[in-house]
């Protein structure tokens, strides 16, 4: 019997791999060790062959490369077409995507065409006793985790949150590269790309940061905000916000955490000058360690915090910055 295959879609834009694909290869490797499956990566583009070494070193036994000029820039319908044909030819058992903007648009369209199941932004994947993939899906702002499976349809498809799976890299792994010929009957219909504006994010993406320092209305203005940025800088984290700082322009829309913003699950969340309204809490409650700093001892955020510090942040943060700098062995500021 042929080995069953776990496939990972390798997202690339402009020849740059999205890290989540490498993270998924790490998870696929773990799953494959248990089931004896092979790990295959599939990558689409115009000239993507130079990326295959890196993909193999991150755990792929096999890389399927689909190259065609019309695949240079991601477009939904051509990508769906190629992936459909590849799945129909090779029958992967599992197919994983990063829950990125590309993955979130592409995976459901492909699943509907293949008439199979898809689970969204998983935080973990495991096998069950019957060799079905168990897909852990957070819902309701992280307050509920559903375990989804897809017993009767293949491939078992899932999108996985960036930043939750571990990469495993070893240089000099060997793997096979198969170039897949894309015919001239490729579906090139759909919206035309007029312009791409690549704007590098100013701050680290909140969703993937291990540390998030979040500020609220209590910060009072851009001056206090600098302290948060300094703290995030020291800890290699990102700065997030509640709604009022976004409305006031101290923080950008992209930084908002909560019901109408982002859902984050960092290892460390420090909320400063934040009251802890449920609109905000639904977006951060999945964090591993929650620290709250608030001048009001009755602030609701304390109820969902592991570590509660009552006080004015202007008095609490400077000695903390100093202490951390000392421990990090970095230079004291002048």
């Amino acid at each position: 019997m042929e080995k069953s295959q776990i496939w990972v879609f390798m997202e690339q834009r402009g020849g740059v791999l999205h890290e989540v694909g490498l993270e998924l290869l790490g998870k696929a490797r773990d799953l494959a060790e248990v089931s004896g499956s092979a790990v295959a990566a599939i990558i689409l583009g115009a000239e993507v062959a130079p990326l295959t070494d890196r993909i193999i070193n991150h755990g792929a036994d096999l890389v399927l490369v689909a190259e065609h000029p019309a695949l240079e820039t991601y477009r939904l319908l051509p990508y769906t077409d190629v992936l459909t044909r590849a799945c129909r030819e090779h029958h992967p058992s599992v197919l994983l995507f990063g829950a990125t903007r590309m993955g979130v648009e592409l995976a459901p369209r492909l699943a509907a065409r293949l008439k199979t199941g898809l689970s969204a932004h998983c935080i973990d994947l495991q096998w069950d006793a019957n060799g079905n993939l168990l897909q852990m899906v957070p819902g309701w702002g992280g307050g509920v985790v559903a375990t989804i499976r897809c017993p009767e349809h293949r491939p078992q498809m899932a999108t996985v949150m960036p930043g939750v799976m571990q990469k495993c890299e070893s240089s000099g792994r060997s793997g096979r590269v198969i170039t897949w010929t894309v015919g001239d009957d490729l579906d090139v219909s759909g919206p035309k790309v007029l312009e791409i504006c690549r704007e590098e994010p100013k701050t680290r993406a909140l969703e993937t940061a291990e540390v998030v320092i979040a500020g609220g209305w209590g910060i009072g203005g851009p001056e206090g905000w600098k302290l948060l940025e300094e703290l995030a800088g020291l800890l290699g984290g990102a700065v997030g916000a509640t709604r009022p700082p976004v409305d006031e322009g101290w923080a950008s829309e992209e930084q908002m955490i909560g019901q109408s913003g982002k859902t984050i699950r960092p290892r460390l969340y420090i909320g400063v000058g934040i009251s802890g309204m449920s609109h905000h809490v639904v977006g951060m409650d999945g964090s591993e360690l929650v620290v709250a700093i608030n001048s009001d001892p009755k602030a609701p955020l304390f109820e969902v915090a592991d570590i509660c510090i009552t006080g004015d942040f202007r008095e609490i943060l400077p000695p903390l910055l100093e202490e951390l700098r000392r421990r990090l062995g970095a230079k004291q500021p002048h």
Partner: protein, 265 residues
Amino acid sequence: MEKIIVCIKPVPDPLAWDRLAMDPVTKTLIREGIPSVINPLDKQALEAALEIKDACGAEVVLLAMAPVSTRPVLRQALAMGADRAVLLSDHWFAGSDTLATSRILATAIERLAPFDLICCGNFTLDGSTAQVPSQVAELLGIPNIMHVSAMEFRPPGPLLVTQKIEPGLVILEAEFPLLLSFTKEANKPRYSSFLEILAAETREIAVWTNAYLQLGAGLIGLGGSPTQMADLLIRRKVRQGLRLEGSPEEIARLLADKISQLGIV
């Protein structure tokens, strides 16, 4: 422009989520007593449709698959300026995953054809799968664009759509028919006046059951869903609630210790 269909999902009010409970036997969420609100991003979808209607005229039709008890949510959307509403409601629809839900919505949309544009929210608050828009479009065989943060349509000019990507933006030129799903940057949904809200109170809402859609049992509900729920866990994290006391310097040391324990410093 003839017709724009806006897919609206009534979702349980997030302010009441702490009252969510789980039925230990059926492993389903008990939503009883939790009020429904319109999924926030679906207001962005409706506003986008209404802006086109204001500019070049179009019939705006609301479509929701939900229990009939959520009629008030559709009335709120009617008050914003939609022309009519169709509610898809049938016990056969219960338990549908995103593919089965999309089949039901797509079939209803075929009954409403011809249409030019379908507007969706980019994701919902409760399930937040963000899967329904691409799946409805696929089942209808029309193109779709997700993560739409801006739209420009000045006939006879083309439809220009700005899509958020990582990192940055893409500008796309699209043709109708098309499905778009909108993010919160796309627009500011309008408020309805008291008179509009009052007028919507008595508006008719069509209810379609599967008797009209005629979908086979193997296509909808639990039986038509490729994915199954194996388990459901309500995670109410137990937090330590440890209060750090002392001078700011002492607090700084204690907190730095905690951070070190995480292996971050």
